[in-house]
């Protein structure tokens, strides 16, 4: 049996609608379980390669793990459990959140905006100084 691909397992669980906290924790637990099985097999005298193969077969097929998780509706995200409600609620929530987007975008990019503001201020001051110099040269020239 091939060695389990835990990254792919996590991807499949998330793609199937399993809530991220359940998906990530289950994968971590299963990976630790696999490591424990490998350690136990090595202690029993198996080679590293044999131990990994034995552990993979004891752990079971990844398809079965995914099916077992998917079969439990309560482990899925809210949107997967109540799709019809989600279809109504999500667009409304997005519309309601729209006015707040510039504020959050500003907070998220505060340093960029500060740099941009400072550059604008410096350019303004430089232009004003040039104009003042020009004006003075006209007056006293």
């Amino acid at each position: 049996m091939r060695e389990p691909n835990f990254k792919r397992l996590a991807h499949r669980l998330l793609k199937s609608g399993i809530a991220p906290r359940h998906a990530h924790r289950a994968v971590t637990e299963i990976r630790d379980h696999y490591d424990d099985l490998v350690d136990a097999a090595v202690e029993d005298g198996a080679s590293s390669q044999e131990a990994r193969q034995l552990a993979a077969s004891q752990l079971g097929r990844m398809d079965d793990l995914v099916s077992a998780m998917i079969a439990r509706r309560e482990l899925k995200t809210w949107a997967y459990r109540f799709p019809r409600t989600a279809i109504v609620i999500y667009p409304l929530a997005c519309l309601a959140a729209l006015p707040a987007v510039p504020v959050f975008a500003g907070i998220a990019n505060a340093s960029l905006i500060a740099r941009w503001g400072a550059s604008l201020l410096a350019a303004g001051l430089f232009t004003a100084a040039l104009l003042l110099l020009l004006q003075l040269s006209i007056l006293f020239g």
Partner: protein, 112 residues
Amino acid sequence: MAQSNPPFMSGVPELLLLRLLNDREMYGYELVRSIREVTSEAISLGEGVIYPVLHSLERNGSLKSRRKPVGGRTRVYYSVTRKGRERLETLQNDWQRIQTGITSALESPGNA
């Protein structure tokens, strides 16, 4: 190796997990080993399949979990809540009722 019997096993993993965790907190690998031991290897679960059951039991409030670093790994230990003990009692009663019924059916004269 013990054979699994999926249709009849419905609810059995839940019962076994609650029963074992009622004694002390354990993590997944430990639970699978304990199930094998207490059932004399009569019941063998696909080892990874235990986690959806544990997560579901936690989700419905029958179990609670905590992370504990052990030997360089962070184990997720599960323990039974008050709701879990009530659920265990219900499941035990159901199982005993079924067991009595089946024993009675097997011992009835019609089967002789």
